[in-house]
Symmetry: C2
Subunit: 446 residues, 2 copies
């Protein structure tokens, strides 16, 4: 295999230290999801193409089709999933008789979209999702609860300040209907472009879609409302529009904001221009911006959907959020240099005195591992200076010298300080801070 | 999305309890790999098709090609990787200037093959690989070390008795050359079919490939040798064939068997018919059979390769093993019913007295979670009997009742025994055995 090796645009891979930082983030997310009682689900990478292409947002253009290279398939056409919500909805339908509802699941897997790679957007990316799905009816308090889950996750990650922007599609839907706009989804899609094309751009598109100037102005007036408490309700009322669906949306969003204020103060912003691109959302929608770089886009998004999972007889409404792990790490690791304190899990390198006594070193390593200490045996019985250098290059803090202690015992050296002490592999343990690689945030290393 | 939902043959998915058992196995494998100082690598799912189709064993027929559904690609043709060795070799070449050699990596990811699904063979399957790769030269002791890593992993998994069958391709190569067979790879591929078609079938294929009857007989005589110590060396010598490459193979395999006997007694068998299908192996090869079902096929295979990773200037020899996690779990979970003690990570359900005091329950749950206790809040302020039933159905062992303790404090009930005690969310912790879901092996539940 001597062909040329080049990266593939949009498919990100990390070096070992960066990967340890990624694992730290993935492990933290999983830990919090499990603390909140979400059960893990892992779905296959492929779905029938017709299930994927049914989800709006020009989904077709982004789908990667999968087929056997040699041909001869008589099967359904398959595609790689572009998110984890669509496969989860299918999983719920397929296993509905075997699941206990309300069903809380988390899912951390890659997804794929064939779109043009750009900053924060990849063709292969890891998502970390939680969803709560119920049979027939889903209590509204789950829409507030997910916000608290996000707050718990982000509070444990090195992301700095962030805010979850929350809206309720019913506010937009009721408002649009009240002012005479019929095409709610089409209007939401246009308003969703505010960040990219600005108010003038959105106004033009709304006019082109058949809105009057007054309708367009009122859509923009609604989208301008953003409050860190429940005062958005008064601001909407001041626009002089009323509709039962609008009222329902205001009540729900106010309730979400109140729960957030009580249990995760400072995290949520009611932001009435948040629309989300996907068609299936029907209630609360979320987007999460990092204060250090709001223009980077949302790193955690989701919302409530009422009809995504339906088999024609029963419908399973749900609410979910998805952390864009690859997008988040593209910033933290890729741009800012978040990394790990060493490039291997090993805390100890056991030196080899000579190849004839390699067995002794293997036994020492096994003893340390049996008590949870990640340990390597040196590759060669080289001079000790070389063996220490081997550890140093990888960031391994300790080198173990068989037989170098007093009375024939062993000794272990902290190669950072040079301190060497007698040690017994049956009992010695490194300090907790050295046992596993730790996160190194840029600028914190000295 | 109301279309019909049917499983896709060869793509296995688990229910929540089964998934927890799968996670236990995956976590255990990862833990052992890290204890042995392997660094994690995760590679993209796709490789250029020409890199995948270069690996022999009719690889072309198995590759899943990936292309944008909407077409218009001007990129290289891509395919899903069919193992983790080929992407790892590419990763090493791509990052050779940034890696420290010898480089030890583990990688736990799905792979895909478009072959006909059958017992233990899936179209999507998780592999857990470790490899040690070096620049230019790789010491032989790593070939023994990987056997000890397998032993450490399998010793911690509920797999029962197993044996690692080990061979060295140099034994076959030297032997075949010594008796006048030129096409070593072709002969290895035929001998690899012994399990499937038996000695007569292999003899016929060897004759059809141009071997004489005597050559075929001697190939089969070599393949019959199987010893649990180093006595295979004498048995090979008794066949009266000599060749320098054969000698080299015998020495290496004897050394691997000696290390295994010392550090993992009873695990290894020298088995001279082990060939492995893939072309790239050049030294030690491994296959692992479970004693409970040897006909199920190997659940952990690998070997040494000398020329897989080469950029034309430099070559990176390596040795690796791959645990067929999906195959293993197809047996343990799918056929034998290995499962978990509950279907959620939650150890505690906090009851809700009425919707007005849901906030109290949320605060209690947050306090328990902050000390690492996975906790859920009840979905509805239903009668307590209903709330206990909610926990019972999911296997959650404890229900927390706000305000039900003496002097206005809380109380927690073990719903298995019915025991209820006063408790403070700031300090109460369940017994360690109840904190996380545990493995339930079939027949052990009562």
């Amino acid at each position: 295999m001597a062909s040329k090796v080049t990266p593939i645009s949009g498919f990100q891979e990390w070096l070992p230290r960066e990967r340890i930082a990624e694992q730290y983030v993935l492990d933290t997310i999983r830990e919090v999801f499990e603390l909140h009682g979400f059960a893990s689900v892992s779905t296959r990478a492929v779905e029938p193409v017709e299930r994927l292409s049914d989800q709006g947002e020009d989904a077709d253009k982004e789908i990667y089709a999968v087929s056997r290279l040699a041909g001869g398939d008589d099967e359904a056409r398959l595609g790689l999933h572009f998110d984890l919500t669509v496969p989860f909805a299918r999983y719920v339908l397929e296993n509905s008789g075997k699941l206990t509802f309300p069903f809380r699941r988390y899912q951390i897997q890659p997804a794929w979209r064939g779109e043009r790679p750009q900053r924060g957007r990849y063709r292969e990316f890891i998502q970390a999702d939680v969803d709560i799905i119920d049979a027939a009816e889903l209590p509204g308090h789950y829409e507030a609860e997910l916000l608290l889950v996000i707050a718990d996750v982000f509070g444990r990650l090195p992301v700095g300040a962030y805010q979850v922007h929350v809206n309720n599609r019913k506010i937009c839907e009721g408002f649009y209907r009240a002012i005479g706009i019929e095409d709610v989804i089409g209007t939401l899609r246009i308003v969703d472009k505010l960040d990219k094309i600005g108010e003038d751009g959105v106004a033009s598109l709304l006019l082109a879609a058949g809105c009057s100037q007054e309708q367009a102005d009122r859509c923009l007036a609604l989208a301008r409302i953003r409050t860190s408490d429940t005062s958005f309700v008064q601001q909407v009322r001041a626009l002089g529009v009323s509709h039962p669906v609008l009222e329902e949306g205001l009540t729900h969003l106010a309730s979400v904001m109140e729960t957030a204020a009580e249990h995760a103060p400072g995290v949520a912003v009611a932001d009435l221009r948040i629309a989300r691109g996907l068609d299936y959302y029907t209630g609360t929608v979320y987007e999460t911006m990092l204060e250090r770089d709001p223009g980077y886009g949302s790193v955690c998004s989701g919302g409530r959907y009422d009809a995504l999972a339906s088999d024609g007889k029963r419908t399973y409404p749900g609410v979910g959020i998805s952390i864009g792990v690859s997008r988040l790490l593209g910033l933290l690791i890729g741009e800012e240099g978040l990394t790990a304190s060493r490039e291997t899990p090993a805390a100890v390198l056991v030196a080899v005195n000579d190849e004839e006594t390699r067995s002794d070193s293997i036994r020492i390593a096994a003893a340390l591992r049996s008590r949870g200490v990640p340990t390597l045996v040196a590759p060669k019985a080289a001079k000790f200076g070389k063996q220490i250098q081997f550890a140093d290059r990888r960031g391994i803090p300790y080198v173990w010298f068989p037989g170098a202690g007093e009375r024939g015992g062993d000794a272990v050296k902290d190669i950072r300080s040079g301190d060497q002490v007698d040690a017994d592999a049956a009992s010695w343990t490194p300090p907790a801070a050295d046992l596993h690689a730790t996160l190194v945030t840029p600028g914190s290393s000295d």
